[in-house]
């Protein structure tokens, strides 16, 4: 796991060119039968700054498909988003993007 905010990490990010080749990670939100749909939408807007439409579409995907990839990108940022989503009690996991 990448440790956020450490000096060592910042140094490595600047000096290791392979960082850019690191695989992206998916932030996944899973459905649960308790959390209100409008609450999920509000959290997506608050955490990612998504538009109402995009947040609503992702929420519906969670609701109908059981899960949704709500963000993809570098691991460090993915962890920050996962922590923020879990802070609001959305069922969130991280998975590396295959290939």
């Amino acid at each position: 796991m990448v440790l956020r905010g450490s000096t060592k990490e910042q140094t490595e990010t600047k000096t290791k060119p392979e960082t850019s080749l690191a695989p992206p990670w998916n932030v996944i939100v899973h459905d649960d039968p308790v959390t209100l749909m409008n609450y999920v939408t509000k959290v997506f807007i608050q955490v990612f700054g998504y538009s109402q439409d995009k947040a609503h579409r992702l929420m519906m995907e969670v609701h109908q498909e059981g899960r949704s990839v709500v963000w993809t990108g570098g691991r460090e940022k993915a962890e920050v988003y996962a922590q923020k989503l879990q802070a609001h009690h959305l069922l969130t996991s991280l998975e590396v993007v295959d290939g």
Binding site: M1, L3, R4, D32, P33, V34, T35, L36, N38, Y39, K42, E79, A82, Q83, Q86, A87, H88, H89, L91, T92, S93, L94, E95
Partner: protein
């Protein structure tokens, strides 16, 4: 229970003793040491064991501190509940600056009630509710009550709008 908008935030009134008991349980549910509650509020995030261990070492303590801080905020707000005139019912003000913390705290409490009472998704609708035990039914009712409060805080319901909380209470 009714809700109204005042200049300071949201007012919830006619909180019966049963409702107050449910609300008093919110911080206790967030702080619950029950493994099912901990697992739901702090879920597994990685498939790989090593990654998950790192996550639990670095991300989870921060989340735990946040949850405890929210529980304390809710407890402090609940301590300011006032009695309604000539009634055992109470009235609660949730200030705007506390609304977001309350929203998440209510969600945590609802999730905790769900797992502590072995509820399934089917219990949340009418058919499933009919098949639930008495204890489970009570938990479902509490979950729905807290959802009503969440809906108010989310702005999903049209509310009567008043002036200040003090003026509103004196009316």
């Amino acid at each position: 229970m009714w809700a109204a908008r005042v200049s300071e935030g949201f007012v919830f009134g006619e909180l019966t003793p049963a409702t107050v008991e449910t609300l008093t349980g919110v911080p206790m549910l967030i702080e619950s040491a029950d493994a099912r509650v901990r697992q739901r509020l702090l879920p597994d995030t990685y498939d790989a064991a090593e990654d998950e261990q790192q996550w639990r070492r670095h991300a989870v303590p921060e989340l735990e501190r946040l949850f405890l801080s929210r529980a304390q905020l809710v407890r402090r707000d609940l301590a300011t509940m006032r009695s309604m005139p000539k009634s055992v019912d109470k009235v609660l003000l949730i200030r705007d600056e506390h609304a977001s913390a309350w929203l998440s705290a209510l969600n945590a409490a609802r999730l905790a009630l769900f797992v502590l009472n072995d509820l399934k998704a089917e219990h949340m609708d009418a058919d499933g509710y009919a098949k639930a035990t008495a204890k489970q039914r009570e938990a479902v009712l509490r979950i729905h009550l807290l959802a009503e409060m969440q809906s108010v805080l989310l702005g999903d319901l049209e509310l009567e709008s008043a002036g200040s909380f003090e003026d509103f209470i004196l009316e």
